[in-house]
Symmetry: C2
Subunit: 270 residues, 2 copies
């Protein structure tokens, strides 16, 4: 059985930073199960904080926090030094660096991460854009896109679009199907904004089979047939060559990696 470590995360906001760090760091311990049993959000009083730390101590838990109030940071530090609680605050070292660098202290205002500012509304609008122009639904949207993704079925166009939208890019995508004519508006598109996605035929076949299975459908259709898939991919490569569209192979890549490579390609060109 795997060793288990209970983790409490504490934040005076939502606690997303701690959870991101925890996900990244815990992947380095394949033999330990990290149980993020509690994520305490919006903790803003010392009383509340100390109650949580006492429970963590009883649970022999490890505590990761992102606190901005100096009073709370100090209280947590004193408590853990006194009791031996394993405690780590992610923000405090950053604040110390800034104090050293600029002689400025944080304003200690909790939860300022989600300011409803211009950048925030641009992101929301990018997400709505990506949903609206997913799957070639409305090719008129291509011209307003920062990025148009093209590829055959199951080359991760939708999740990659949503991931990029979440970073503020206006993304649309177009499925490539040999039997379906391309929307004429493609001729007007700036090729600098188009990216082609491909995948190995074998992997694509596997992904499509699990897709059908998850829909409760049988396995043996042309959709999962390797020859058919190769034909679709050859057609896609033809389109990419015709329009001078750079291609990214998504085989065994995560959505995050694919998105990273797309941004790199766009940067190269601008």
């Amino acid at each position: 059985m795997k060793k288990e470590i209970i983790v409490y995360t504490i934040s005076d906001s939502l606690g997303e930073t701690s959870q991101k760090l925890l996900a990244a760091a815990s992947a380095q311990y394949p033999d330990i199960s990290f149980l993020n049993r509690y994520n305490f959000s919006f903790v803003t009083t010392e009383e509340e904080l100390l109650e949580i730390l006492k429970d963590a101590l009883k649970d022999k838990a490890l505590v990761v926090s992102t606190l901005v109030s100096k009073q709370l940071i100090t209280a947590a530090k004193e408590f853990s030094e006194r009791t031996g609680l394993l405690y780590l605050d992610l923000m405090a070292p950053f604040f110390e660096l800034i104090q050293a660098k600029a002689g400025v202290d944080p304003i200690e205002e909790p939860g300022r991460r989600h300011q409803l500012d211009r950048a925030y509304f641009d992101k929301i609008s990018a997400i709505e854009f990506a949903v609206k122009y997913d799957d070639g639904k409305n090719p008129q949207g291509f011209l307003d896109s920062d990025i148009l993704l093209l590829g055959v079925s199951r080359t991760s166009k939708t999740p990659v679009s949503m991931y990029l939208a979440n970073q503020g890019y206006r993304v649309s995508n177009l499925p490539l199907i040999p039997e379906v004519p391309l929307p004429p508006i493609l001729e007007e598109m700036d090729p600098q904004k188009m990216i082609g996605l491909v995948c190995s035929p074998e992997t694509l076949g596997q992904i499509r089979s699990s897709r059908l299975a998850s829909l409760g459908l049988g396995n043996e259709t042309s959709y999962t047939n390797v020859e058919r898939i190769e034909q679709e991919l050859a057609y896609a490569e033809e389109i990419f060559a015709k329009y001078g569209i750079p291609v990214i192979d998504v085989t065994a890549k995560s959505v995050e990696e694919t998105a990273f490579l797309i941004k790199e390609k766009l940067d190269e060109r601008n």
Copy 2:
């Protein structure tokens, strides 16, 4: 003019954790502009790392890293102690805690955050689900949803759905419009899975006006008329009461906060 601090982020993976921390921490310094001029991803050799640190020193930059290789962490630490570079690694303190707690060292395998495992594919599938069942497009999907969001136009149904999908929830949403009959399938829905979104009529009017403006349309339509909006909201409240649907007021809330409150409501019931 605002004081500027140049920040380099360095990671042996994508660098998302550093950027999240930077966004959260820098919001605490309204009088400082943090310029994340470089985000160095996939840095895995000591040579490459030291080149970056030398540049950072020349730029008088602050460096935030998430490295998993002990060799790289040590090299960066030695370099900054020797040169006075302001440097912070976010992972190392976590690794020290785990060593203290469990006597286990990290496997030092970069970029393990994005494992293509079951949870990962579930998330991708949740994102595709949310896109497919956005905007009441296919009410059949309601029954397969973990969460069905209901609300009048511009109550942030789509971005909240996508945010929750990103955390693995299968979310659909239904716009409420007095003139459009409800899909009959609503009668079969588990009320435990439905959440109503409302917003103050004034805020909704403002949001809708900017929406129209962004679409290049005029301002004075019934869509932005406060009386009409109040009528829509009254209709929505009627539906929420009829089905016993709990309601969240999204006025001045970020998507993240709304999603947080939704998860809290679901937890209360389960």
